[in-house]
Amino acid sequence: MIKRVLCLLFCLACAGFASDELSVKYPLKPHHEHLALGCADCHENQGDEPSKFKAIGDKGCLSCHKSKKLLAKRLEFMDVLKANPHNSVHDGPTLYCDECHNEHKESTNMCLECHEHEVKEWMGVTP
């Protein structure tokens, strides 16, 4: 928590403009916003210029979300239809997180590429 507060302060102070502007430019997903995450919580040690921040990749996501196997387990109830997006019949728990999930723009659903109609039956909008 201390780390988070420091990061927030750091972000606000160093980025040189109001957090409102930043959050408009780089909006967070509601569940992350709810946790009051700041830029540097994810973009650790990436300097103080948000426009130069790099995508954090699987390693970044999993630093909180633990492991792909665990995420697959949480959606295990969808295995019945073989439609667990974190453990699909095609890919198992191997896909990159950002194949579907985006933080600062709308997420997508890779299953839709082939399963246009069924996805609606299987799951909600990708968080």
């Binding site: 239809l81 095609h90 198992g92 399963h115 246009e116 039956e121």
Partner: protein, 506 residues
Amino acid sequence: MSNLSRRNLLKISALAAAATALGANQSDSNAPSWDGEYDVIVIGSGFAAHAAAVKSAMRGLSVLMVEKMGRVGGNSVINGGIFCVPLSPKQKAQGINDSRELFFKDTLKAGRNLNNPALLELIFSRANDALNLTLECGAEYRDFLEQSGGHSVPRGYKTSNGTGAGIIQPMQARFKSLPNTEVKTRTKFDKFITDDSGRVVGVEVRENYRFDNKLFDDDRENKSGDKKLYRAKKGVVLASGGFCADKVYRKLQEPLIPDNAQTTNHSGATAGAMLEAFRIGAYPVHVSHLQFGPWASPDEKGYGLASKFNVTASFRYGISVDKKTSKRYMNEIADRKTRADKMFEIIGKDENYPIHFCDSRPVKHMLKEQFDKLLASGALKRFDTLDALAAEYGLNASTLKQTVAQYNEYVKQGKDPDFGKILPKDGTDISVPPFYAMRGVPKLHHAMGGVAINNKAQVLSSITNEPIAGLYAAGEVTGGTHGASRLGSNAILDCLVCGMVAGENV
């Protein structure tokens, strides 16, 4: 010379290759500064790549697999999982009489005799070895043998989860478990690096590459990623798949294909890697033969699940009718080209999609969850009577019933004088309601052409008419094996056999 940039080095090696080809004596070799080295580098991660990678890693070689997409497996991992194995143990157990002659006859007929006989012989003679390689890796198959269109007898092993992932996943696990193996996804192969003699000694790739399916032409427009050079001490296996999703290259072959034409392929099925092989001299074969899969539906994207219904149920045990006449118009299990051409004829300009249907019995051969999903999606519909079916699709009910009665008579007699279809031996006709039906359309499915290889999976050079040293290829990126039109289930056979052979020889 020591401070030459990498770019210049590449140019020099390309020039050196050309110079050697012209007989000039080029002695000065400039070894690039490699970012890593392996015995074997495999480009792609589908069936062909996995067979090559696993086989060469089993021989104790160090192997790098590079895949441009984030996902492993290309078309192979979304594929229908039907694998043709002529003279297989399951055929023997089920009393199915198959032979070399029959396999050649079926395959050459579909291929319009354009098939390369040496490659056909290769995939026929090594089919069981390829099957065993997958079993050794842990692949599982159902007992029911599929009879895909154009095959005179059932030859199709089907993975137990109903997709090619049933082969790719165990092979990927096996590959990773072998020593000195590595998989790099989001890594795009851009160029071959050749030495003075023209031998392929490595590859230039871009790591952290993000394929962008919003681009019209990813191969040329996408500049993402960080350049790296990897050395391949023994050789490179090109297994980059087909190009049915390449809007630019496919249109060069068939100008009438609209840019928004539907394909069953994954969005990364583009021609760039194959074109790079042409650039260093590989012979092109049959690149303008593009195959349309006749079993898809206009009511869902891609290959979808409708294809499974048609492949396993409606085409084999039911019929397809023209909406305008309520009559059959083709042999529902002819080879793909025959069917796609017939279907396009009746679809015409007014989207007159044909109706494929069967009765209640054949759907039991489908995987239950796939059948349930398809029905729930609405692309497949259930009808208690033929009248209801006719009403839904605007068919003439009495003509439809005559068509069905006539077909049922043919099934009873075991002979289809109209279209020569091989009728179900178990006597399944169209008589036990409910009936299942859907609208059909052929979709761009398979690139028949590609680089020329010999029966050791070596790529043949148009400069020397000899193999290009250090370069092997397998799978859909090669051309010639299937001729003008591939039989269903022969792709897995081809990809696995030639990949395995590349892995044995590299």
